[in-house]
């Protein structure tokens, strides 16, 4: 049974052939199509950058999962973005080891240099800053991650260099 009674202003978008192909591949791993919910959200996010209401509904209809249930999954995991993010998502660890070694000052530094706090995106849509609770590299704290790259033993100078690199890449 799906949400057939509520008439919502939001309509599902069409999933792209690439998205459908990858979701179909994931489906082969599980006995229930519904089990693919999280993977499907990750696939959509890979192609779209984030999960819009339209994307959420699209996955919901495609896998026959009520949007309310899928929303529960999407909002439970903080790496599923339900709001648009910048081209580069900076995941700054604020867990114990990083906190002891000064991640708060790094956060301050981002505020100063990029003008963004946790949960915010730069005006040029280049960077979004998000806190994470441990990247598994406490021995080299403080750490952060951008894209698939992890950066260790951070200092404000090191951050400036890294950001400059990303800016240069465009």
């Amino acid at each position: 049974m799906n949400n057939l009674i509520a008439s919502t202003a939001v309509k599902a978008r069409e999933l792209t052939p690439e998205e459908i192909k990858e979701i179909e591949h994931e489906k082969t791993h599980y006995p229930y199509a519904q089990a693919v919910g999280l993977e499907a959200l990750k696939i959509v996010q890979k192609y779209q950058g984030w999960v819009s209401d339209e994307s959420l509904l699209a996955v919901s209809e495609y896998l026959d999962i009520p949007p309310d249930e899928l929303e529960g999954v999407a909002t439970f995991f903080n790496m599923i973005f339900r709001r648009p993010v910048g081209k580069n998502v900076i995941l700054l660890c604020d867990s114990v080891a990083c906190w002891m070694l000064g991640c708060d000052s790094l956060n301050e530094h981002f505020k100063k240099t990029l003008g963004i706090d946790y949960g915010e995106t730069t005006a040029d849509d280049m960077f979004t800053l998000i806190p994470v609770p441990c990247l598994g590299a406490c021995d080299r704290a403080p750490v952060m991650m951008i894209g698939r790259e992890t950066y260790y033993n951070l200092t404000t100078e090191k951050i400036d260099e890294i950001i400059a690199e990303y800016k240069a890449k465009g």
């Binding site: 799906n2 057939l4 919502t8 949007p67 309310d68 899928l70 909002t75």
Partner: protein, 905 residues
């Protein structure tokens, strides 16, 4: 049973239940949030912690959650020793809970308040900022205040896991955890109102009640019976200042248990409506203007209508119908329904009496492990039964769990184990219904075809049952599947009813149940009827077939109509002709309607909330309802208008006179019943402002209203009758101010009330051998489109439809068609459809409907279903605009439906 020691006390407990249930049953106070007797344990809230000791030597013990513990024989437990842990747990729960009890609707009947006090966490140490949330609009029934949430997950477990709702869930995590819809909008479940009772605090509240809110202790309440369908759920309505404020569930182990539907909970606002008849009116001829009649004048006029016929009603009490029958004489008493309907009610009574079947109570339905529904849209005609059937499909999972030695209460584990495994539920219906999502198979078929399949199933089970011919290959396969499933089940159940208006279908259901019966082991059968007292009315008509057709054809010129709008019961033209023929027409009713408008004499009658009496439900269970409050003097009960005798005497006469009704005198403890020399109070001891509540009108305190029916008083003086549950009013116990206190009155937690008074089934099954009904082919109607009825939980019932909150969920009369027929008729999205001689109505497309058939709404404004023959012609309506009350979004459906665009209000 095993013996355990709890804080030095030796208790004998059932090892199949969890420890929490058992210590509560022994009268101990152990706090809990997430556990619920109907929903089992998940062990998430950490409130019911106890210390369990390994052996006699163990002095330290270990912490265990009582709701997740099976009592171990000889084990030693301590509630006391875990007190500090529980206080700490509740302190962390309370960190984000606001200090808003004075403005919270839950205050004073809040399980969270009770548990916090019980845990000993009396002072708040946390003075930081609290997490706040944005609330959602959840429709006309339920208010939302997320800041109060303590994340016990009871709402989700009820709404999704228990009631099968899909439009609600938990979001985010830790401090941000949120319970709501993914987007704002009305909750879709027909059982959403129970959230207000399931939530241990004030996150989900009764929205119509909030608009005229009163604290629990200021409500005048009485044990009542829901008057909105044939299930007869037990309710506890509350009144203040002469208006009915709310209805809550009243526990009855045999009927509704802990839950009622939204029609029952939110559908009583009509009692306070402007459309109430509050004074009696009279006039000499129908062309005159009516003039006010004093109660004495009205009564005299009524009793001077010599030779009048009486027309009864399936929504009036047994006593009111009987009093009318006494007044006009049995030969002049007519059932206020069509002869076809009366025939079906009597057919059902006959089946219950003479076929070897067991009439299914709700708990039998819940315990069934294979169910067949024949042509009854239970969600819309008897919603509480649909909720019970939703539980029945879970029995397969429970069976798997039992095989693996999981205890029955282990909710999360059983759900994980069962996954998609369900006990079979088969639905035969002319359209997709709300229960389809849990059905093993849904077969779309007309009532005629479903009846045939039903007969064939009976034959497949018992070769002696009469067969039918002409079934398609597909139907034959279905017959085989269903017959196998039923034969293999421990407790099979057949459900049907009058909804399809097909006697053959009811007989088919009886045949299947008969075929399944094996000596003492009888199969369960539930046959749904339309109204609160349909079967009570039928019992009065045991020796008479006088229905509306006969009333319309009689030669008398005077008639008394009891609580009945004839225009909802018969073709409009027939009612017009009857009324025109009448020289004197008296109508007794609580609400204005078309029949009343044509009367010479209208008598203001009380609603269920202002009168007492007996209703007979779909099982023939007779239940007594007590008036909740005394209306203004000009309003009297129909019994009082019609009879000179007090209610108890009318009940006694009815019991004596009417076959099978003898037991109804035992439904109350008798008119002279007292506790400690006083009548049972309707008001709480804490009822406030009694001497001041009328001070704006008069500083003198009037005498307390008297209840002539005895037993209960409109007062706070007296002792609540905890010893006799026939007068068991609001559940309340020391330290337990919320509805959770009901366990204090149960024989064991979740079980029947002590001194149980759960109604009495009037029909005794006297079947000695298996007898079958032969299939009778009904004459199929000639016409383009075969008509079948569509019921609406919100709107089809006459009285509840006059409640504002229900109107927000209802729609106008309409028809439903298949896509192909829409194309054939050339209908565009914004068109209406002209229904043969019956004006034009909106339409919706429903893919599940078979071409050549049309679903027609019953009881909704703008279309009288009774006007239509069995088949009609349809045409595109010219120059049509949709009525203001048309709202396709409110139609409860489960197939893909396309409401004509632009028509949704």
């Amino acid at each position: 049973m095993v013996k355990i020691t709890v804080d030095g006390k030796v208790l004998e407990v059932d090892e199949n239940n969890n420890l929490l249930e058992e210590v509560l049953s022994h009268g101990e106070d152990l706090p809990y949030f997430c556990w619920h007797p109907s929903m089992g344990s998940v062990g998430s809230c950490r409130q019911c912690a106890v210390i369990e000791y390994a052996d006699d030597e163990d002095t330290r013990g270990r912490l265990n959650m009582a709701c997740m513990t099976s009592p171990r024989d000889g084990a030693r437990y301590s509630i006391e020793k875990a007190a500090q842990f529980r206080a700490q747990a509740i302190e962390s729960i309370m960190i984000n809970h606001p200090h808003d009890c004075p403005v919270c609707e839950e205050g004073g009947e809040c399980h969270l308040q009770d548990m916090t006090v019980m845990s000993g966490h009396n002072y708040r140490r946390y003075d930081g900022k609290k997490k706040t949330h944005t609330n959602q609009y959840l429709g006309p029934f339920i208010g939302h205040e997320m800041n109060r949430c303590i994340t016990c997950y009871r709402c989700v477990r009820y709404y999704k896991d228990y009631a099968g709702g899909t439009d609600f869930g938990p979001q985010a995590s830790h401090d941000n955890t949120y319970f709501g819809r993914w987007q704002e909008g009305p909750l879709e479940s027909e059982f959403s109102g129970n959230l207000a009772e399931v939530c241990p605090t004030g996150v989900f509240t009764d929205k119509p009640f909030s608009k005229h809110y009163v604290r629990k202790w200021d409500l005048q309440t009485a044990p009542s019976i829901c008057a909105s369908c044939s299930v007869g759920c037990n309710t506890n309505p509350g009144e203040r200042y002469g208006t009915l404020r709310r209805v809550v569930n009243r526990f009855n182990d045999e009927v509704n248990g802990y839950f009622i539907c939204d029609r029952g909970r939110f559908g009583t606002g009509y009692v306070n409506s402007d459309e109430r008849i509050i004074v009696s009116m009279t006039r000499d001829s129908r062309d005159d203007n009516p003039v006010l009649a004093s109660p004495e004048e009205a009564r005299t006029s009524l009793h001077s209508m010599m030779g009048a016929i009486g027309i009864g009603s399936p929504r009036a009490s047994l006593e009111a119908n009987f009093a009318l029958r006494e007044l006009v004489g049995p030969d002049n008493f007519y059932a206020g329904v069509s002869s076809a309907e009366l025939g079906m009610y009597k057919q059902i009574l006959d089946i219950y009496r003479t076929k070897p079947v067991k009439v299914a109570r709700i708990k039998d339905i819940e315990a069934s492990d294979a169910v067949v529904i024949l042509g009854e849209d239970v969600t819309n005609t008897a919603a509480r039964l649909a909720l019970a059937m939703r539980q029945s499909v879970k029995n397969e999972g429970r069976k798997m769990a039992r095989d693996m030695k999981f205890p029955d209460w282990h909710d999360a584990a059983i759900r994980q184990l069962a996954m998609d495994c369900k006990s079979p539920l088969f639905i035969l219906s002319p359209y997709a219904t709300r229960l389809d999502d849990v059905a093993a198979q849904v077969h779309i078929a007309s009532a005629e075809e479903s009846a045939k399949i039903g007969y064939a199933i009976a034959t497949a089970i018992d070769g002696n049952a009469p067969g039918v011919t002409g079934l398609s290959k597909e139907s034959q396969a279905l017959v085989k599947t269903i017959a196998e499933a039923l034969k293999g089940a421990e407790q099979p159940l057949i459900v049907s009813g009058t909804g399809s208006m097909s006697p053959a279908l009811i007989n088919a259901a009886a045949n299947i149940a008969t075929a399944l019966s094996d000596g003492e082991k009888k199969a369960n059968l539930a046959l749904v009827v339309p109204e609160a007292n349909s079967l009570g009315l039928a019992m009065l008509m045991e020796e008479s077939d006088r229905a509306l057709e006969q009333a319309f054809a009689c030669e008398e010129t005077h008639a008394i109509v009891l609580e009945n709008d004839l225009y909802r019961r018969a073709p409009s033209a027939d009612v017009d002709a009857f009324i025109n023929k009448m020289e004197g027409l008296a109508v007794l009713d609580s609400m204005k309607h078309k029949t009343g408008e044509a009367a010479n004499l209208v008598l203001a009658s009380g609603t269920f909330a202002e009168t007492s009496g007996t209703f007979v439900n779909y099982e023939t269970r007779a239940q007594h309802f007590y008036s909740v409050f005394k209306p203004v003097d000009s309003i009297q009960s129909s019994v009082k208008w019609l009879s000179d005798k007090p209610l108890a005497e009318v009940t006694a006469d009815c019991a004596k006179e009417i076959e099978g009704c003898a037991a109804i005198v035992g439904l109350t403890p008798g008119a002279d019943f007292t506790v400690a020399g006083m009548r049972v109070p309707r008001q709480q001891h804490r009822y406030s402002g009694r001497t001041a509540m009328r001070a704006d009108v008069d500083v003198h305190e009037p005498k307390q209203e008297q209840d002539e029916d005895g037993i209960m008083s409109y007062s706070m003086e007296g002792v609540p009758a905890t010893r006799d549950s026939t007068v068991f009013n609001t559940a309340w116990s020391g330290g337990w101010n919320s509805n959770q206190s009901v366990f204090k009155f149960q024989s064991h937690t979740g079980g029947p009330l002590k001194q149980a008074g759960h109604g009495i089934c009037l029909i005794e099954n006297i079947a000695s051998e298996k007898t079958y009904n032969e299939f009778e082919k009904a004459e199929s109607a000639k016409g383009d489109y075969q008509v079948f009825p569509l019921y609406h939980l919100f709107g089809s019932d006459e009285l509840t439809a006059k409640t504002p909150a229900i109107q927000e969920k209802a729609t106008s009369g309409y028809i439903a068609l298949n896509e192909a027929d829409v194309a054939k008729l050339g209908l565009q999205a914004s068109d209406g459809v002209a229904v043969e001689n019956n004006g034009s109505v909106p339409y919706i497309v429903r893919s599940s409907i078979q071409p050549g058939t049309v679903g027609v709404s019953v009881g909704l404004e703008g279309l009288n279903f009774r006007n239509l023959p069995g088949a009609v012609s349809l045409q595109k309506a010219e120059g049509w605009t949709s009525p203001g009350s048309w709202n396709a979004a409110n139609i409860i459906i489960s197939d893909k439906s396309v409401a004509a665009e632009g028509e949704t209000a």
